[in-house]
Each structure stands twice: as structure tokens, then as C-alpha cells.
Amino acid sequence: MCLNVDGIHKKHNRELIVAKDISFTIKKGELGALIGPSGCGKTTLLRMIAGFETPDQGTISINGQQVFGPGKNIAAENRGTGMVFQDYALFPHLSVIENIGFGPAKRKKKDLDKLISLTGLTGSENKYPHELSGGQQQRVALARALAPKPALLLMDEPFSNLDISLRERLSEEVRYILREFGTTGLLVTHNQHEAFAMADKTGVMKDGILIQWDSGDNLYYHPATKEVAGFVGEGSFILGDISPSGEIVTPMGSFESKSPGLNTHPDPVTLFIRPEDIFVDHKSDTKALLVKSHFRGPGRLHTFELPSGEQFICTDTCPSPLELDKWYGISICNRRVSLFNNNQTH
């Protein structure tokens, strides 16, 4: 393994917990991502791994070497980590080639040339950062971070200052380059799509806690908690009950429970359904009132309201438009429904 984080804990000003018992691992050559709402502590965690901030407890190991632990705290410059900053942090007084080659160790010219061509910067070697576009600056930042051949590359919202098409293109390029170099990476972003597109494993954080560290698929289809479910993609929460026969009874219909280990009747339960798993079904007996509907290419996004007052969303690629304030039949594909105990909080 390349990065091993274990039991990291940090309190700010003795009150605010920015990291609570965080543990995860990234295998060599893999790319991990951290997502979560603002203030969840993902950037702080990244900086602790880099060595710019110090945890209160826990251990961090890179490439089998412990860089932080009880009685040990290796300085940032000696950890073998590279960092791409959100504002790129390019040295304004140095040219592109000087930026990329920056550091106490001398870089080989051919390595630098390779990096320059790999990041598409050929021809700009002697320009200064303020003469470059945002995308070019980002590439310089990336090339500079990769030049010392770090074992682990950390990226703090590297694409947040770029427009969408550029962002998508660059994230692909970055992934490709990292694979080429065999570099392990950890990316912090608020853009879920980016995380899922690039990373092998993604972690969802909230209030300093790493709730779930998993592949994108699992996070989407098997969220561990309500927070994860609500944060990753979209969906609707519907309350339901467990019948004596083990069935789940909801205002949207009853169906068999596929999730083991839930409390039995009569404890209430919360369902989580993705919008693509709910359909407008004229044959269905379950009815819901259409309250909102807008175009969301492809198809439309409808907001329905149940007699219980709960609302849910569903996507509909069917071309025939529906009328507002009318009741329509709906049905669920229950294969991918997630169930949560009501007392599950995080």
C-alpha cells in the first residue's frame, strides 16, 4: 500500500473537531478522492497528510514509512509527497520551466522535457505564470508537483477554478499521467462527478468524520448512512414500516426487504430511492400528485407529493409531458433501494 491513514484525530482550538478517528488506505498506483460539504475537514485532512498541519493523534504512513505517529512528525519537505494547490501557487517570479524544475534536487533535463510534453506545455517554457491561461497554469502546477517523482500526489480542488469542459478534459489527462508515472494520488474535490470519474476509491466526509470509503458504485448504490445517501447524487427519503411478515410498507407500496439485519416490526424505517428507480406507471395503484416538473436533459425531473405529505423526485425520459397538480400512478424498482434505521444518525 502507498498511503495508510489510521486513527487521525484533530481538534481546533480545543473545541471544534476537524478530524475524528479517520482511517483509510490507498493502494499503490490508485487514485483516491475525498468529497463532502464545505467545512467537513477534507482539506485539513489532506494538509495533515502533506505535513502542513499536525494531527493530535493517529498515524500516517507513506510507502510503508511512518511519517506521522507517536513521537514522530516528519517535516513536509521530507515526506515524499507532492501537492497541487487550489490556487496553483505558482511562483510568479519564475518562468514555467523554472517553476517545474524548482526544488533542492537537480532535475534531469530529459525528465523535465518529458513532463512538459506530457502536460502539453511545449512552447511555453519561458513564459511567466501571469502570461498563462488558467488551464495552462494548472498544468504547470501539475508538472511541477510531479517533477520530483513523489510517491504520493495530493491535489486540493485542483480544477475548481476552471470551466466545465476544461475541467473534464484536464481531469482525464491527470488520470492518464498519474497512471503513466505509477503515482498514487489523493484528490480533494467538491465535484462528485470528478471524483467518481477519476478515483478508484472515494471517501465521503462530514463534520470531520470519514463516513464511507468505497468505490463510486458502492457509494451510490450502497450508501452506508443517510448522510452519504443524501450527499452522493440525488434521491428521496421515504418513511416506512416493517410489517409482521417482514415486508416493508411504505406510502409508495409494499415490497420485500432485501437488506438483512434491520430491526423487525414494529420499528419504523427510512427508504432511500434514486430518482431513476421511480417510474410513472399509469397502471399502478399507488398515486402521487405532481407538484413540480422541469426539463433536465435528457428527460424531465418531476417532484411528486404523496398523500402523507412527503415529497420525492423521479426522472422520466418519457417524452409525453405530464400536467401539474394531477395525480399519476408510480412504481418502484426495488432492487436498489437502500434502507436505514430511523435511529441511524451520523
Binding site: A75, E77, N78, G82, H93, A105
Partner: protein
């Protein structure tokens, strides 16, 4: 106003201001051409080589000393935490209130052969007493002048260091750069424009200094200028030498501009300040000791000596007259500052409208008045104004207004004008760098709200550059309070200032009596200096 008219206007205004400022300089240059050949020959053969050598030594020495002192102190107080750091940050600015010539007569008084230190040493340790270095030498002059003006470098370097984004240091660390490496390759180079700015101020002040070097009897270019004038009574020969000074300064400006062309030193990213690192053990002690030592010798000891002398001479020297001296000093200071800052804002504003070489060059020319020794500049101004006066009088008489005497010269117009030319640089730099806060998008938003012209300036721009204006005003005010040669020459009747009084007494060898106006001057100067240090502190507070 279409853009091109605005641009034209900007250039015309800058050119106009530069013209006013340069007219005395031009007068100097022109009189220099018609210098008396035999005086010039004598100067060239017997006097000039010594002057050049001494001036080079002095300027180099002061630049190196102030660079070391200023940068190291700024580095310590910007990046590290140690006992007293919060106080030292401000205290190290205080020496700005002490004019170099006052620092000079204090230290020669203290460390001269007949002074208390060497007398004591001779009595108790005769060998040490004999070996004590002579303060009245090139080294002494370098040391004393450096003590008085290192705060400029300190101030500028601190600005540079504190404005550096945290991510610069972290980026260097992430690339393997340790503390020393980061300091040498990132911190210092990125602060270079600020440090150079401070060093240029130091360079020009040292060149133009006359009071301090006279105390040391150390002959520099400027003393040569005065020798030609006071000794040979040849204003033209004096002008010729002064012209050389101006040319040297313009060359330095040109060189600095050239080297700075391509690079930019501002990072438009996040501006999180660098967190200070706490020092422990020996480094902690050394840091506190160093700062304390510098403060002692640059401020506490000189002011202490002044107090001792002032108390001794109080009865003899003090009179109700002193109230008038203080009010004169402050009034002239404030008026001069108002004029200087107004011009600085206008110049910076038009420089902002036009970002091309032309206006930039014109602005630089306008700033070169700083390098002229005060009295030389005054000569230029007096002659230009006398010419204007003559014509003005003529015109008025034609109109039937029977005025005699001199209009401009007996009024208080000359003095602030001279101050403006002399100190424009000190006011301009803070204002101009602050102007970068006015972005085009602000202008566009304002236009949408139909705000333009004067309203745009006063309601929107002015608040944004308020900090620059305040800093600039404070720096200029301190300078004017300390200023002596120009005030001496151009003040109208009854307008003596504290600096003039100090000169009168020290030129008669009355050190103790001079201490009274000197300490009053320092106290007066300390008010703006303390204001300056509070601005710095509030800046930090707001950033948090």
C-alpha cells in the same frame, strides 16, 4: 468620456505635474552647463575623486547595512514568534522620527574622543580607550545614517513578507525545499520589489544627506555641491555637481525598471498569510536580544541622551517661543503633506489610466526630485518662482494693482511646493500600490449604477485606496517634520520650525541647547510613526 480622451487626459496630467516638478531640476541642469571652467577644473582635479570615493563608500555601506538590518528584522518579526515580537514590530519603526543629522550629533557626542564613553574607558581601561575606533570616519557615518533610515527597508520588507501567500512556502516545502532553501529561493526573491523599493529610498536619502555627513566632516557629493556654492559662491558649479546626482538617480531608476520588466511578483491566488512559527531555546533568546539591541542603539539611547541634554539646557533654552515653533512645524507639515498626497494621488491615478511606458517614464521623472539635496532643489525652485513672480507682478501692475515685493516668495506657497517635489516619492509608492485594488470590474459595476467622474472617485475609489493614502501621508509628514535645508532657505518671516532651530543651535556648537528642539521634533515625528505602526497592526487584525 471616451477611453482615448481619458487616456490623453491621464498623460497630460502626469506630464503637467512632472513639468512642474522638473522645472527646478531643469534649471539646475541648465545652469550646470554654463559653469565656470576654472572652478570646475579645480573641483575635478582635487575634489571630485575624493568625493566619488567617499560617496560610493557611504552609499554602498549604508545600503548593505540597512539591507542586512531591515531584512533580517523584518524576517524575524514576520515569520517567527518570540518574546516581545508584537512590541518590536512597532518599536523598530520609531527611529524614523529621528533625523539623520540629530542621530549624527548624538553619536559623535557620545563616542567622540572627548565623549563620555571614551573618557570612561580611558580612565578605567586605557588600552581599550586607545583602541576605540574613531566615530568621525566613513564607518561612523555609515553606521549612524543606517541607524536613522533602516526602518524604511524594515517597513518595506515587512510589507513584502506579510503579503506573501502561505501557499508559496507550502509549495516550496512540497517540492522538497527546507526552511533555508525556501527563504533563499522563494521568500527573499518574492519580496525583492519591496526590498528594492526600500533600498532605493535609502539610496536617495543617503545621496541627498548633508546634515549628518557635515557633522562627521565626511566629504560626499552633496558636500561638494555646497562647497561649490558656499565656498566658491558659484551656483552654476553647484548645479553642475547636482546635475550629476540627478543623472545617477535617473540611471538607477532606469536600470531597476529594466530588470523588473518581465517578472511579476504578485500572486492573485488565495492570500492566506503565513503563520508565525514559535521560537524556542537559543534562537528565541537571540531573536529577542537582537531586536532589543537594535532598538536600544537606534532609538532608546539617542532619545535618552537628548533627554539628558534637554533637561540640562531647559532653563537656558526654553521660552514661550517654543509653542510657535511646534505649531509652525505641524502646520507646515500638514499643509505640505496635503499638497504632496494630492499630487501623488493625481499622478498615481493618471498612471493607472495609462499603463504604458510613456506615463510610467514621466512618473519616474517626477519622482527623481527625491535625490536632490534639499537646498539645491530650493535654488532651482527659487529661480523658477522668481521668474514667475516677476511676470506675475508685471501682469498685476499692468492691471493696475499696485503690489510690490514678491507675491509667491513671501507667501507660504513655495514651501509646500518644494516639499512636494522633494517627498513625492514617499507619498506616491504606497498610493500607487494600493491602486491595484481598483479593478476594472469595480469601474464597470459603478458605470452600471450610473456613477462616474468625481462621484466615482470620491465615493468608490477613494475608500479603496484610503490605506495607501494614509500610509503615504504619514510617511510624508514625518519627512517634512524632519526636513531642514529647504525649510531653512524658503521659510517666510516668523516661520521657523523645530528643525531650523536645531540647525541654528548645532551649527554654533550648542549641542545641549539643540537637544530641546531636537527632542520636541522627535516627539512630534513619533506621532505619525505610531499611527503608521497601528495601521500595520489593524491590517493584520482584519486579515484574521
Amino acid at each position: 468620456m471616451t477611453t482615448s480622451i481619458k487616456h490623453q487626459g491621464g498623460f497630460i496630467v502626469s506630464a503637467g505635474i512632472a513639468g512642474v516638478i522638473l522645472s527646478p531640476v531643469l534649471f539646475i541642469l541648465i545652469s550646470g552647463i554654463s559653469a565656470e571652467p576654472d572652478i570646475w577644473l579645480h573641483l575635478k582635479q582635487y575634489v571630485l575623486p575624493g568625493l566619488l570615493k567617499n560617496t560610493a563608500f557611504l552609499v554602498t555601506g549604508v545600503i548593505c547595512t540597512t539591507a542586512c538590518l531591515g531584512v533580517s528584522l523584518a524576517w524575524l518579526t514576520s515569520f517567527y514568534e518570540f518574546s516581545g515580537r508584537r512590541y518590536f514590530e512597532k518599536l523598530l519603526l520609531f527611529p524614523l522620527a529621528i533625523p539623520a543629522y540629530v542621530m549624527a550629533f548624538i553619536y559623535t557626542g557620545l563616542l567622540d574622543f572627548s565623549g563620555p564613553v571614551r573618557t570612561f574607558l580611558r580612565a578605567h581601561t586605557p588600552e581599550l580607550g586607545a583602541f576605540f575606533p574613531e566615530i568621525r570616519s566613513g564607518w561612523g557615518a555609515v553606521l549612524v545614517i543606517s541607524l536613522a533610515i533602516f526602518p524604511y527597508v524594515y517597513l518595506m520588507a515587512s510589507s513584502g513578507f506579510r503579503s506573501m501567500s502561505r501557499s508559496m512556502v507550502e509549495a516550496s516545502q512540497s517540492l522538497g525545499g527546507g526552511r533555508l532553501f525556501t527563504l533563499l529561493r522563494v521568500t527573499l526573491p518574492m519580496a525583492r520589489p519591496w526590498i528594492f523599493g526600500g533600498l532605493i529610498l535609502v539610496f536617495m536619502e543617503t545621496l541627498a544627506d548633508f546634515g549628518a555627513v557635515s557633522v562627521f566632516n565626511y566629504d560626499t557629493f552633496t558636500t561638494g555641491v555646497y562647497k561649490a556654492w558656499y565656498g566658491f559662491f558659484s551656483v552654476n558649479a553647484a548645479s553642475q555637481l547636482a546635475s550629476i546626482l540627478v543623472i545617477i538617480v535617473l540611471l538607477i531608476f532606469a536600470t531597476e525598471s529594466y530588470f523588473r520588466k518581465k517578472q511579476q511578483f504578485y500572486n492573485r491566488g488565495s492570500q492566506q498569510q503565513i503563520q508565525r512559527q514559535t521560537l524556542n531555546g537559543m534562537p528565541h533568546i537571540l531573536a529577542s536580544a537582537f531586536c532589543t539591541g537594535v532598538f536600544l542603539i537606534s532609538f532608546a539611547i539617542p532619545v535618552g541622551q537628548l533627554l539628558v541634554w534637554a533637561i540640562e539646557a531647559f532653563e537656558v533654552e526654553f521660552s514661550t517661543h517654543y509653542g510657535k515653533l511646534v505649531t509652525n512645524t505641524l502646520f507646515l507639515g500638514l499643509m505640505g503633506t496635503a499638497v504632496t498626497i494630492s499630487v501623488a494621488v493625481i499622478l498615481a491615478y493618471s498612471g493607472r489610466l495609462m499603463k504604458d511606458m510613456k506615463t510610467g517614464a514621466v512618473a519616474k521623472l517626477a519622482l527623481s526630485g527625491y535625490a536632490l539635496p534639499g537646498t539645491v532643489l530650493a535654488v532651482g525652485i527659487v529661480n523658477v518662482v522668481a521668474g514667475v513672480d516677476k511676470n506675475l507682478l508685471g501682469a498685476l501692475n499692468v492691471l493696475g494693482i499696485p503690489i510690490s515685493g514678491n507675491i509667491l516668495q513671501s507667501s507660504l506657497v513655495l514651501l509646500p511646493l518644494c516639499y512636494m517635489i522633494r517627498f513625492l516619492t514617499a507619498g506616491y509608492n504606497p498610493v500607487f500600490s494600493n491602486m491595484t485594488r481598483i479593478t476594472p470590474s469595480i469601474d464597470e459595476a459603478a458605470n452600471l449604477m450610473k456613477i462616474s467622474g468625481i462621484k466615482l472617485f470620491s465615493k468608490i475609489h477613494l475608500p479603496l485606496i484610503r490605506r495607501g493614502i494614509t500610509t503615504g501621508s504619514i510617511l510624508v509628514l514625518v519627512e517634512i517634520i524632519k526636513e531642514m535645508p529647504v525649510t531653512l532657505m524658503l521659510r517666510p518671516f516668523g516661520w521657523d520650525t523645530l528643525a531650523v532651530k536645531v540647525f541654528e543651535l548645532t551649527s554654533e556648537g550648542e549641542w545641549e541647547r539643540a537637544a530641546l528642539p531636537a527632542i520636541t521634533l522627535v516627539l512630534a515625528g513619533m506621532i505619525p510613526v505610531m499611527l503608521l505602526s497601528f495601521i500595520g497592526r489593524n491590517k493584520e487584525r482584519n486579515k484574521k
